[in-house]
């Protein structure tokens, strides 16, 4: 009986180690992390990629690099990782803290979308707290008001400075995959902002949400059309689509 118990314990330990090695968090020191200000772990940023949202694709899922700026009105998610740990139980200085979740400190950040909403330009705080309310760590986020949208080709995905489309030429029956991101004079800004498309001329081009936050522009008939992308706060961008035979 004692031998079986010892064997079972050993197998459980080995299984635990194997599972830990298969964790999905970036490696320690990765730019994906924004270090917590208390030194107890790091925060990861994720962008909501539902249909009709504007989000830099480089930040789909866990961003490869924690963004420097987040757009006002944008939704996003932030999760806390304590030194490569998994799950919601955190161990610090030989004490365990359970039920760790991330929360926003109002009024600059609030709850929204799949996690949080950037409410006001300025600096906001995300805290990681355990179920007893003890702060495990926190991070400060920079929130800026975007001034425009950039519509760019999906082939530019992964670039942090995608080239904006001003004129898109399609062949009859063809299509193009594009994405939309909020921006200002300094460049692109992270976060998901719902957008609406409108077409100046019917039937020349169609717009349909595609996978993972992209949009497929389909050539309908010969001609030209001005497409407008509108978002919250009066944000708007236009570009021309020409369909040739």
């Amino acid at each position: 009986m004692a031998m079986r118990s010892k064997t079972a314990s050993t197998l459980a330990l080995l299984l635990g180690l194997a599972l830990a090695a298969c964790g999905t968090n970036p490696e320690s020191g990765s730019p994906a992390y924004k270090a917590g200000e208390l030194g107890n772990g790091g925060f990861l940023f994720a962008c909501d990629n539902g249909d009709g949202v504007a989000c830099l694709s480089a930040e789909s899922g866990d961003a490869k690099k924690f963004p420097a700026r987040i757009a006002t009105g944008a939704t996003f998610d932030v999760r806390f990782v304590e030194k490569n740990a998994q799950g919601t139980v955190v161990g610090i200085d030989e004490r365990r803290y359970s039920g760790v979740t991330t929360e926003a400190v109002a009024p600059f950040i609030g709850r929204g979308g799949q996690g949080f909403t950037a409410l006001r330009p300025g600096y906001g705080t995300i805290v990681a707290r355990d179920s007893a309310g003890t702060i495990v760590d926190f991070a400060t986020l920079t929130i800026v008001r975007p001034t425009r949208f950039i519509v760019y080709r999906d082939s530019d995905s992964g670039s942090r400075a995608p080239a904006p489309i001003e004129l898109l030429t399609l062949s009859l029956g063809g299509s193009a995959l594009v994405r939309v991101v909020a921006a200002d004079s300094m460049g692109t800004i992270a976060g998901s902002i719902p957008v609406a498309w409108s077409r100046g001329t019917d039937d020349v081009v169609s717009v349909e949400p595609d996978e993972d936050g992209s949009f497929r522009l389909g050539a309908g008939k010969e001609g030209s059309a001005i497409l407008t992308v509108d978002g919250a706060g009066g944000l708007s961008t236009q570009f021309t689509v020409v369909v040739k035979p």
Partner: protein, 133 residues
């Protein structure tokens, strides 16, 4: 019948014992001083000191606070805000460390309570962030 002198001696003894007990209790360790260290301020600054506490709205400043008695022993401490809607005090996992969260622009006080007695009161201000528009 007991003599008056016996009663008087007993009364004097009782008073002496009571005085001795009071004297002993009055000589127990008492609050001596407060130590604030390991301050970490926000991107917009802040302050945590015995003179004042300041934190920008929406941000956090933190500090380690220890109160000592006259036997050089750290005393159990409660740190609380008179108005958590303006400034909230939250415990931090790091030993004897507290986070001061700026909830809304305004002024309140922070109280340090040791052995059920308020030992320090600090004026606390939550300041507005500069306009970013």
């Amino acid at each position: 019948m007991r003599s008056r002198s016996t009663l008087a001696r007993r009364l004097v003894s009782a008073v002496a014992v009571a005085a001795l007990a009071f004297g002993i209790s009055a000589c127990g360790p008492e609050y001596d001083h407060t130590e604030i260290s390991a301050q970490r301020y926000s991107v917009l600054g802040g302050e945590v000191s015995l003179r004042r506490l300041e934190v920008p709205e929406g941000l956090i400043v933190k500090a380690r606070i220890v109160v000592w008695n006259d036997d050089d022993e750290a005393m159990p401490l409660v740190v609380r805000s008179s108005d958590p809607n303006i400034l909230e005090v939250l415990p931090v996992v790091n030993d004897r460390t507290y986070a001061f969260v700026g909830r809304a622009v305004g002024t309140t006080t922070i109280e340090l309570i040791a052995d059920d007695a308020r030992v320090v009161t600090i004026v606390a201000t939550v300041t507005a962030q500069p306009s970013a528009d």
